[in-house]
Assembly symmetry: C2
Homo-oligomer: 121 residues x 2
């Protein structure tokens, strides 16, 4: 009997820390990660890959050097590889991230907000 249904609300309920993506599913060599955002992240980029943000609940923004994008529930955005960006959320926002296995949340920037990678919830 097949199993493996991923209920996103149940997954978000298990995440307490902001800015700490947790893997919920893999498709080929890509991962789906739930993340709670609140406050400001840091400027960073991912040289090797695009990165998708899909807002499941709440709203958030992404600062780019050229301007800011705002995303509400049911909206998604593809940040192209190599493009500097800084996510932020005025209040708690639940986001599904989709990107290849191995992507670190802070790119090469490191720092206090770097989350342990490849942690499942």
């Amino acid at each position: 009997m097949p199993s493996g249904v991923v209920n996103l609300a149940e997954k978000f309920a298990k995440v307490s820390e902001f800015w700490s993506p947790r893997v919920v599913a893999e498709m080929n060599d890509y991962q789906f990660k739930v993340a709670k955002f609140e406050g400001e992240f840091i400027w960073h980029d991912h040289q090797e890959t695009d990165e998708v943000f899909l807002v499941i609940s709440g709203s958030m923004g992404i600062e780019f050097r050229e301007g800011t994008v705002r995303l509400s529930e049911g909206e998604m955005y593809v940040v192209p590889r190599g493009v500097e960006h800084k996510p932020f959320a005025d209040s708690e926002c639940h986001v599904l991230l989709i990107e290849p296995r191995g992507v670190v949340n802070t790119g090469d920037e490191g720092g206090d907000l770097e989350a342990e990678n490849d942690v499942w919830v």
Copy 2:
């Protein structure tokens, strides 16, 4: 100024046909497709890739040879490569599909429900 916010509800509103995935975004060589399901699809598989179903509204099921999975809004499922499956929905269901560019909805089965591939909305 960055643009490219994808509002899924707006995209679904532009799709009239059932079982005809329409591309809304690309991440590397992967595509995000909106699809409306109602009724029964056909048995098929994808030999080359996993395939993700994420239910945006409504509910649906996926029949496998070993049993049936049911998905509601906010739930996702990864169909592994090469596994025969038959999606169905008792009433209209809005689904986000994620899979590599080039995947045909019916696999190698063809038939009346084969949708033109790589069509954007």
